[in-house]
Symmetry: C2
Subunit: 119 residues, 2 copies
């Protein structure tokens, strides 16, 4: 049982759209990820996802609306709901989601990551 | 799908050791709680718990060590491990744990809360 510092975790990598596992509990993963630019439209058939902004701002686009999230704000995206995160500038995000969650959900393409690094 | 702001959630209550539910996903609850003083020794038989410091500092006491957590740091306490949070000054904490989790775990006393408020 060691504590985990978000600042040092974010300082330890620089790639984007590549979530890193920083914790695991009850079959769920805690991940950190840096966003910049646009991701892809996707949904998850079986997993709800939580996005908490640690630094910066990003927009979560849905088919019928857009939600802008700032530092200290989170959103829970229910399973089956299509979404696309977009960040005009680099944004640091903490994710909570089941260990089974694939970053691109139902879409498998060059941005899909099947093995996530633990940091 | 509305965003949730931690600052406004923490501003909306003032009691201590009384977690409020601010989100739910995959059978897990996201809660916010204010600590001050000492809680009780307890463990959870079936639930791992995550404590993330949003503001301030607290100590997680274990039977064999103490971990001091500052803003932006978290710890995951595995099921069955006895622990006692202590905060010398008021501390704001976000919790992530299964929906079944009772605040005092295996101990049921005057600090046990069976029905948590959703805010």
């Amino acid at each position: 049982m060691e504590k985990v510092g978000l600042t040092s975790k974010f300082a330890s990598f620089s790639d984007h759209w590549s979530p890193k596992i920083v914790g695991e509990l009850n079959g769920q993963h805690v991940k950190v990820v840096k966003f910049v630019g646009e991701f892809v439209w996707h949904h998850h058939d079986h997993e709800d996802e939580m996005f908490l902004v640690v630094k910066g701002q990003f927009r979560m686009e849905f088919r019928d609306k857009t939600v802008t999230l700032n530092e200290g704000e989170f959103i829970i995206v229910p399973r089956k709901i299509e979404h696309k995160p977009v960040a005009d500038r680099e944004c640091y995000v903490m994710l909570f989601e089941p260990a089974s969650t694939l970053n691109t959900g139902n879409v498998v393409n060059e941005r899909t990551l099947k093995e996530l690094k633990r940091i």
